[in-house]
């Protein structure tokens, strides 16, 4: 059984309320930090912990904090990214809904470290009921002296505000989020300048994911070095995974990043295997933007090593044979799923969510969706597959924000690994409307290269 740091207390009855949370040891990290640590020391601990951003990119959090510009007389802001809109990702929702005080606690410590007197939680609009939960928690924190003026006599003031988004995936991109928070249209900004220099209201800003900020609590409680002992290599601590698709036990799991992908899918503790005795066909381990992998590349890397649920192992093999940890949205596809249809679904999503600022993403996402639709509905041509490849290639890397890449990668990976299935759709336009390509050879063991 893996170690739990975030969700350990999530199911204690009444943990949503301040009294129970406090009784279970809540707000200890604020006490520790405010009484015994300077803001820089907090940042130092986060650096030592090796914590990597849980929002998708996996950027080291301590480093990000130390990049924050600190000019005299200019306010600094911490913004919590709770926009969570990546298909397959629902871990932040779980955390905020069940144990909201953990996030508030983490936010207070992080605000202290960064010197943010006004801290914002930008939450996706559809999480309307969670806004109430968070605001309740903030009110309780205020009432008990964890927020407000001169917290614990340190002279540090802090207030937290919750701002609802209006239902756009793109507002999860940190600069679009900042624009939206300022009351503008949620278009990603052109970088540089980065938020660490010019963010919210043109002031230095740190944007972090919900889970990242919640993880600050155990880091301060345990100490950075202790935290870093959990996990392997540069994947330290625990990670929330939201698992969905063809599994027996969909839900949110906290893992320490040492278990294998195979164990994660099949063990009773986690996904509990695939229902109805079906076989695994493919998996997207990190949310819709990361490359899809066929079964035979999922459990073992191309080199033949066991694939572990962590940053390095999941990305082993790069784009050719690997994928990414992403935001931890773990989507499992069994043998009855059609990869073409699945790719179309994602393409439709990205077309719909593109902000439309830059031409490759605005025009390319729509084009890919239309072609995929043709292929899926038996009207595709062989040349369409190459065309799709060329379109995604011309979007990737040429856009303002990573949404363009996020739209390109799923298409690229699907064609790279499942080209046969696309070709079968084209060659069998009638048959493909009534049955699936099925598992085919996608679970067959791959020859492992012999190393000298």
């Amino acid at each position: 059984m893996g170690r739990k740091l975030l969700l350990e207390k999530a199911h204690v009855p009444g943990i949503r309320s301040y009294e129970v949370y406090r009784r279970e040891g809540g707000y200890a990290s604020v006490e520790k930090a405010f009484k015994h640590m300077s803001p820089d020391l907090v940042t130092e601990e986060v650096k030592k912990s090796g914590l990597r951003g849980r929002g998708g990119a996996g950027f080291p959090t301590g480093m990000k904090w130390s990049f924050l510009a600190k000019p005299e007389g200019v306010p600094r802001y911490l913004v919590c990214n709770a926009d969570e809109s990546e298909p397959g990702t629902f871990k932040d929702r779980y955390l905020m809904e069940f144990i909201p005080h953990l996030l508030i606690e983490g936010l207070i410590v992080a605000s202290y470290a960064l010197g943010s007197n006004r801290t914002y939680i930008y939450i996706r609009g559809e999480y309307a009921w969670i806004v109430d939960i968070l605001e309740q928690a903030i009110a309780e924190a205020n009432a008990n002296g964890w927020l407000g003026k001169n917290i614990m006599g340190t002279g540090f003031d802090c207030q937290i505000y919750v701002q609802r988004g209006a239902g756009a995936y793109i507002c999860g991109e940190e600069t679009a989020l900042i624009e939206s928070l300022e009351g503008k249209r949620g278009n990603p900004r052109i970088k540089p300048p980065f938020p660490a220099v010019k963010g919210l209201w043109d002031c230095p800003t740190v944007v972090n994911n919900v889970e990242t900020l919640a993880a600050v609590v155990p880091i301060i409680n345990l100490g950075g070095e202790e935290y870093a002992k959990i996990g392997i290599g540069k994947s330290t601590g625990t990670k929330l995974i939201s698992a969905c698709g063809n599994i027996n036990k969909p839900g949110v799991f906290e893992i320490d990043m040492t278990i294998s992908v195979e164990e994660f899918i099949y063990s009773e503790e986690y996904c509990g295997g695939i229902p109805n005795g079906k076989k695994l066909k493919a998996c997207i381990p990190g949310g819709s933007s990361v490359p899809i992998l066929p079964a035979n590349l999922l459990f073992k890397t191309a080199k033949g090593d066991t694939r572990i649920m962590n940053y390095e192992s999941l990305s082993d093999g790069g784009f050719a044979t690997g994928t990414m940890m992403g935001s931890g949205g773990f989507i499992v596809l069994d043998e009855d799923q059609c990869v073409v249809r699945h790719t179309l679904t994602l393409a439709r999503f990205y077309r719909h969510e593109s902000c439309g600022q830059c031409s490759p993403c605005r025009e390319g996402t729509g084009w890919m969706e239309k072609i995929l639709k043709n292929i899926e509905y038996g009207k595709g041509k062989k040349s369409d597959i190459d065309l799709l490849w060329d379109i995604q290639r011309k979007i990737e890397g040429n856009t303002i924000c990573p949404l363009g890449d996020a739209a390109a990668w799923p298409v690229a990976a699907a064609i790279r690994h499942f080209r046969d299935e696309f070709e079968w759709h084209v060659d069998n336009p009638v048959e493909s409307q009534s049955r699936n390509f099925g598992l085919a050879h996608y679970a067959d063991p791959r020859p492992v290269p012999v190393t000298a």
């Binding site: 756009a168 793109i170 249209r185 052109i190 077309r351 719909h352 969510e353 593109s354 902000c355 439309g356 600022q357 830059c358 031409s359 490759p360 605005r362 025009e363 390319g364 996402t365 729509g366 084009w367 239309k370 065309l387 011309k394 890397g397 040429n398 856009t399 303002i400």
Partner: protein
């Protein structure tokens, strides 16, 4: 003691120049000029915050700076990336850039209606130039192009949303030149559109400038609509004493008739001085203006075909050959046909005939 300003050395397509720190790669390339300057469809030096969107100006940075000579992994938007000392940039010498730019042109044209034959912008359209310079002959797009609900932008400005490339220039213009912006981008992605909120007229004094900044025919002058093709007109620089703006304009004339008034543009197609609506829309008589002389037009431009500067007419030899007799008119078309107005002498109209000539 004047401190010596340190200049940055930057090499673009193997040509090295020195520029002030804070100069963008695009502006450095423009200083070199010619083909080294990347095309720019959204950047506009006079509009704060513009650029970065169209991605036509992407270039490869082969070396970041002397201090950190690593190449940048991705192509960068030259309009929004500043030069560093010792930076090495590849524009037309980079296969990657040419390939990516080709892609961008294809993307920009994907949903463009290509209705140039009926578009007032034709002949001065940056998208036409871009496609000509960097595009392919055919399209691989086999779907219907997108359409939009029509919006009325009032008596002066015509919006054809189907032609818009979402460069945001007009939005910045409306934002920065006028104090009442009723014009922005609605919706997102490939269904995003430039529109007035609740179809309000844009009645600000300087709003007409959106026509000049629009690189395509999405925003055109309603008072000039379908009146003429730009290459049949002769642009002349003129000015007037205007209480609101600089009053420095280009008149687009045929004969003595002013068909259109625009701001003057520099060699990159950018407005030199913003002009007010009155100058642009209301002053359509040569008497309103002090003429300075013909506008310089690039020889590459189709508009230069209407320029007769330094043109030498061949010597008329017929009369000489006929021993001083004038040639006899064999048939006067007006005697035969009543279809067109006999009072209109076709040979006396400046330029080709137009339906207006027979009104």
């Amino acid at each position: 003691m004047a401190e010596e300003k340190k200049l940055f050395k930057v090499t673009i397509d193997n040509i090295t120049i020195e520029v002030e720190p804070g100069t963008s790669i695009l502006n450095a390339a423009r200083m070199i000029g010619g083909d080294v300057a990347p095309p720019a469809m959204c950047y506009y030096s006079k509009l704060k915050g513009s650029g970065g969107k169209c991605r036509t100006c992407l270039v490869e940075v082969a070396a970041g700076s002397t201090a950190d000579p690593r190449p940048m992994p991705k192509l960068v938007a030259s309009c929004r990336t500043n030069v560093m000392d010792g930076m090495v940039v590849k524009n037309i010498t980079s296969e990657r850039v040419i390939d990516a730019r080709n892609g961008v042109v294809e993307f920009l044209l994907l949903n463009h209606p290509l209705d140039c034959p009926i578009c007032d912008q034709a002949g001065e359209c940056h998208l036409q130039d871009l496609s000509y310079d960097h595009g392919k002959e055919g399209t691989r797009y086999e779907f219907n192009r997108r359409t939009f609900k029509k919006h009325d932008l009032g008596p002066y400005i015509q919006l054809h949303m189907t032609r818009c490339i979402l460069c945001y220039r007009c939005v910045f213009t409306a934002d920065q030149l006028t104090n009442k912006r009723v014009h922005g981008v609605l919706d997102r992605g490939d269904h995003a559109e430039i529109a007035t909120y609740i179809e309000k007229s844009l009645d600000n004094d300087f709003i007409g400038n959106v026509i000049d900044v629009c690189p395509v025919g999405a925003l055109t002058d309603k008072t000039f609509r379908f009146k003429n093709r730009v290459w049949f007109l002769k642009p002349v620089d003129a000015h007037r004493d205007c209480p609101k703006c600089s009053g420095k304009v280009t008149l687009w004339n045929r004969g003595d008739e002013v068909f259109r008034v625009t701001a003057r543009k520099d060699q990159w197609g950018e407005v030199e001085d913003w002009i007010c609506n009155e100058c642009r829309f209301e002053k359509k008589s040569t008497n309103d203006w002090v003429i300075e002389g013909p506008t310089k037009v690039s020889r590459q431009s189709v508009i230069s075909q209407g320029h007769y500067e330094g043109l030498k007419m061949p010597k008329e030899t017929l009369v000489e050959v006929l021993d001083g007799r004038k040639p006899r008119l064999l048939m006067d078309i007006h005697d035969v046909s009543e279809v067109n107005k006999p009072t209109v002498d076709l040979s006396k109209i400046a330029g080709p005939a137009h339906s207006d000539d027979f009104k």
